[in-house]
Symmetry: C2
Subunit: 154 residues, 2 copies
């Protein structure tokens, strides 16, 4: 069974990756290259373990912690991102339709209630995948408070 992980990364993507690494003072190591290629060519939203298994095939002694470290680095460089939220679970009991603004710096979660006219509709193509029970819309960025904090520090 082929879990469709293949397809390949373009030369430009790889160049871009190297350029960005260098621009941030990060060395272009074979581990980083392989890990980036794996995520970039995958269509399966792999977790760290999955990346580890895949990379291990061509590089038998990578370690899982290098995968974790590299994924974090790539994320900081903006070359890769996390699907959804993660880490610890947070709960809500407000079933009125609303969205969240999550601050990437302090982690604060703000509720955003849409004005009557601009509530989100489920696009019809989504229904092809299954029946939607819940919509989760999350905006992320630097919150106003952290923006101020950052300015103060300059």
């Amino acid at each position: 069974m082929n879990t469709q992980t293949s397809c390949g990364v373009t030369a430009e993507q790889l160049e871009n990756f190297k350029t960005i690494c260098k621009a941030h003072g990060l060395r272009v190591t074979p581990q980083r290259v392989e890990i980036f290629k794996m995520v970039a060519q995958s269509k399966e939203h792999p977790d760290a373990e999955r990346v580890f298994e895949a990379v291990r095939k061509t590089m038998p002694n990578v370690s899982l912690d290098t995968v974790y470290r590299t994924l974090s680095s790539l994320e900081e460089l903006g070359l890769v991102f996390r699907v959804g939220f993660s880490s610890k679970a947070r709960f809500d009991a407000d079933f009125d339709e609303h969205y969240h603004f999550v601050c990437t710096q302090c982690g604060e979660v703000y509720d955003v209630f849409p004005a009557p006219g601009e509530r989100l509709e489920v696009p019809p193509e989504v229904e092809e995948y299954g029946r939607v029970h819940k919509i989760n819309l999350q905006f992320s960025g630097l919150c106003a408070r952290c923006q101020k904090e950052t300015k103060k520090d300059l």
Copy 2:
């Protein structure tokens, strides 16, 4: 400093909670009541630890694992939900605007690319909280494959 956890739960909410518990054969224990009240009245999207601390004030010997267990139960009953995603991190390197359909049963993540006309706009009120760097829109439900599986089992 008051982290605005208060405000109170309505009598109807509490009645509803009790009714639903009973309907599902779950006992209405003081722990469940307190934990539900805490989440329902909170505006801060608390994590398990936070619920634990809060509930402990009025009920000094609740245990953290009861909080975890109860939050899971309440979630199954549909009285509470998780904000965002959780558990393990999954990565993506496709920066073309797209959304995800996540199957609540098998965990599969499907990409959904919006048609040109129906791309999501950032509602203006969101910008009040901060500058949006990333949008994460996730639909969840039972995927087509799991729907079939479920039918088969009957």
